[in-house]
Every structure is written in C-alpha cells, then in structure tokens.
Symmetry: C2
Subunit: 224 residues, 2 copies
C-alpha cells in the first residue's frame, strides 16, 4: 500500500511499509521482494536506502521500541517510570508477536532504546541508587518485559501445536502430570494480572536492594 505511488522512496517510507507488511502477514512474509512490491518498486531499489536486510530489521526494532518509549513519562519517580514503561512495552509487544521475536533474535540498541535507558537510569541515580544497582535495575526491567511477554505469547500455541500436550492441557493426563493438571484446573489465566504482579515483585525487590545498599553505606560512612 504505497501512500503516494511515486513518492521518491526514503528510509522512512521503507520502514513504515515494512511495519505494515509484518503486522499484516508476519515476519516470514517480510522479504525484500514483497516489501518492494508493497512500495510499487523492484526489490533491488531498496538497497539504495538500506544497507542490508539486517539494517532494515534493526530500524524496525528501534521503531517498535519508540512505540512504547517515545513519549517518556514526565515523572521523577523511578518506580512510576519503570512501571508505566513496562506496561506500555508489554502492550505494544503483545500486539506484535513478530516484534518480540525480532528483538530476541536481533537485539539492536537504537536511539529510542538509548533515550529510554538514559531516562530510567537518571531517575535511579537521582534516587540514590549506586551505578551498579542502576545497571542491574535497567537489566531487570528489560529482562522482565521480554521474558514475560514471551511467556504470554507462548500460551496460545500450547494447545495448537502440542500433540500429547493438548491432552495434558485438557486434564486427561492427571496420572502422569498431577500437579500440572491440578494447577490448570484450579487457577485462572489472567495475563494482565500476572504481569502486574510480576512488575510489583520486581519493583519491590529493587527497592529492597536500594534500602539495603543505603543502610550499608551509612554504617561504613559513620565510623570515618
């Protein structure tokens, strides 16, 4: 779907076309040839504005990161920034499974990711975090976003692909997998609630580490 069929073809136009191809038909469908066709152009013309297919995918990743990080929350509390970023990232990635897979396969660090990392670590340092803990904190938040979103995207395919696994999910293997069967029978699958719980667990943990750190600093500072 070329917005204007003979616009001069820029990196911007290519990236946004790639985004809509991936959204509509998935990552495997995003070939240089099909992308060219979507822009009304031969595949080879793309190489004038994009070094590689890899370069294109990197651009795509940072574009998606921008979708949750771009209007950075105007807040000085690191907890608020972390919480809202996690929620937004989770939402954006859940809606675009291909993006989650892409970030896992090709973990590009682009401008949008830098800006978000700067913002979060700034708040942590301002709150009195040591550089080391701010470092851990960013990784904790990032890892949780990816790990948990993958966790949720994994769910639907459980019944779809599993041959004997489907039987387990239907509760027909209580003999061999009693615990799994019991858990599936007696618990809800509230994804959003689980992610929120995980978020608070992480934030609590970080806060506790921060408190312990300042306590230790006080005891070592006092005698001097």
């Amino acid at each position: 779907m070329p917005t204007s069929p003979r616009a001069p073809l820029s990196r911007e136009r290519i990236l946004s076309a790639a985004l809509s191809v991936a959204d509509r038909d998935g990552l495997p469908a995003l070939s240089m040839r099909r992308l060219g066709a979507a822009l009304g152009v031969e595949a080879m013309s793309l190489y004038g504005h994009v070094r590689d297919k890899g370069d294109l995918l990197d651009g795509l990743v940072d574009h998606v990161v921008g979708m949750w990080a771009d209007p950075l929350p105007d807040e000085s509390d690191w907890r608020v920034v972390a919480r809202t970023t996690m929620a937004r990232a989770h939402e954006v990635l859940l809606a675009r499974p291909w993006a989650c897979e892409l970030v896992a396969a090709r973990p590009t660090v682009g401008r949008n990711r830098l800006r978000y990392a700067e913002a979060l670590q700034r708040r942590m340092l301002d709150a009195g975090f040591s550089p080391q803990l701010a470092h851990h904190g960013l990784h904790l938040v990032d890892g949780t976003i990816m790990g948990f979103t993958l966790q949720e995207l994994r769910r639907p395919t459980l019944q779809q692909l599993g041959e004997e696994v489907a039987a387990v999910a239907r509760g027909e293997r209580a003999d061999e997998f009693p615990a799994i069967t019991a858990v599936l029978a007696d618990s809800a699958h509230d994804h959003a609630a689980e992610f929120a719980l995980m978020t608070e667990l992480i934030l609590d943990g970080l806060e506790r580490l921060h408190a312990r750190e300042t306590a230790e600093r006080r005891t070592t500072d006092a005698p001097s």
Copy 2:
C-alpha cells in the same frame, strides 16, 4: 559428520546431527539440504522421519530443554529446584545462543518441559502454594530464565553493531547520555552475579507472596 556413514537414518540421528550443525554454524546454516549433507543423505530423505522443518526445530527445542531439566534435582524444597534449574538453564542457553532465539521464536512444549513443569509445581503445591500461585511461580521462573539470558546475549553485540551506540559505550556522549555514561563507567559487568541476584529477588518475592497468601487464608479461616 555421520557417526556411521550408512546407519539407517532415524529421528534421533537427525536431531543430534541438527544440534551439531547449529552449534557449529548457527541457526541460519541449519537448512534441510545442509543437514542432509551432514548425514550423507539427500535433503528429501529427511522427510521420511520428520514431518516438517518446524517439526525438526520443535524436537531440537525439547532436546535443549532436556539438557537442563533432565536429571531433575532430587529435592523437596521448591526453592532449591527453582534455583538449580534456573542456573542450569541459564548456563545451557548462554552456551547456545541459537537455542535461546529458537525458544523465543517457537515456544514448543515438549515432554522435557512438561516433566520439569510438573516437578516444580509439585514442590510448590506441597509447600502450600495455592494453584494460582504455583501457576504464577512457574511463569515467573521461566520468564526470568528467558528474559535474563536474552539480556546477556544482547550485551556483546552492543559494541559490535551500534554505530553511534559504540560512541556512547566508549563514554564519548556524556553530554547527551550522562546517566548511561556514569553507569557504564562506575559499574562492573558481572553477568553471573547479576543473574544470581535476579534469581534470589524472584525467589524472595515468591516466598513473600506465599507468606501473604497463608496469612490471608488463616484470617478468613479463623472466623468460621
């Protein structure tokens, strides 16, 4: 490298050949044609023992899961089981980046994964976890493994691929990214320590949720 050049070609033999191709040359090199060549056979012969390339990849994923889950820890404490599983999974996946990517892209639930899920949730239920919390617990542990391993695999490519990002990593953009620069300058990159810290944070959090749950159950049970 066919172990015996004219053995009758089984699913087992195909899977282990695929594993060594992926280990040696990476995931993109694992094509049906090259895998056939590694077994001294035409690509098309593989389809007698494997439905699909997808089927082959699914088998590969569960094989890797078995590498950390297979001798299940003979322990009744859920904390020990969770801790050792996380450590082993992290180690196995760090050594095989392609496996981490594969699990992210195609989250197969195979027999090995079922056995591990059963074992961990069994311990949690036995410790008094509600089914709901045991459910969350498994997802927490799994999400942490994936999220954090991806986090670490992401690190080396930061300097390798980033154009301007490399400058930030070298500390040459302190004006625009002061917090990132300060954190990178004043903190170590001890991956193993960070993963251990993350593990304890998760286990502490789960234990706290468990304690809260039992406290609530006691207060609601008492009046009856």
